[in-house]
């Protein structure tokens, strides 16, 4: 319902981003994935850029990226394995 409201521009941009920031920290990975897709739609909006600068959104994006890279099934890292330190690869 919230995502539908966002799509219909019912919420103001800052309220919308605050909502999305909450979803970006959601315990379910699927919800975080949807939140990041929703943020992408607005990520070139100047108001959103200002929100990112003054909020914790970058921290949440970093955490989201880390989880997605860690548990991705796209061949980046095998399931159940922690990301290796890049220095391991640099030495090969």
């Amino acid at each position: 319902v919230k995502f539908a409201q966002i799509g219909e521009n019912i919420l103001e941009m800052e309220d919308m981003m605050t909502e999305l920031l909450g979803y970006l920290r959601h315990e379910k990975l699927e919800v975080r994935k949807q939140a990041i897709s929703a943020i992408f739609q607005y990520s070139d909006n100047p108001e959103v850029l200002e929100f990112v600068k003054k909020s914790d959104m970058m921290k949440a994006i970093k955490a989201c990226l880390y989880d997605l890279v860690s548990f991705s099934s796209w061949g980046l890292v095998p399931r159940g394995q922690s990301p290796k330190d890049i220095s391991d690869l640099s030495r090969t």
């Binding site: 997605l68 796209w74 980046l76 890049i86």
Partner: protein
């Protein structure tokens, strides 16, 4: 991962946000993605010339002299189930490199981190050398 990288690509065009990206050590995650993809790819994967995002309208020059490249989702090419992991991996690698490129052009600190300049300004450049070799 792909959506997150697309968000970061848009955000990384802003100098103030690049400073925030540095504060949260985003480059480490990007390098992690690049090196993981490099490790996962095989030679035959590199011959697959399919992309999820394609450039439209050529490169333009913005009012401040910056080069602007407009991208759109590639809806003219079918990607099979067997190809999707490879295409996503290549796309993630491409996006991670573009974001690092944006970061380096807007921040000396990011450039120093990517080129691994140490205290006496000597370049170790391991990341760069590994990428070049690949």
């Amino acid at each position: 991962v792909h959506s997150t990288l697309l968000v970061l690509l848009n955000l990384s065009a802003d100098e103030g946000i690049v400073a925030k990206m540095e504060a949260h050590q985003i480059m480490d995650s990007l390098l992690q993605i690049i090196f993981n993809v490099m490790k996962a790819m095989k030679k035959e994967d590199l011959t697959l010339k399919k992309h999820l995002m394609v450039e439209v309208g050529g490169t333009k020059i913005g009012p401040d002299g910056a080069l602007i490249r407009e991208m759109k989702v590639n809806d003219g090419e079918k990607i099979s189930e067997e190809e999707i992991v490879t295409v996503l991996n290549i796309e993630n690698l491409r996006l991670a490199l573009l974001i690092i490129n944006n970061m380096c052009s807007l921040s000396k600190t990011a450039k120093r981190q990517f080129l691994q300049l140490d205290a006496d300004e000597k370049t170790r450049g391991t990341h760069f050398i590994v990428l070049l070799g690949w």
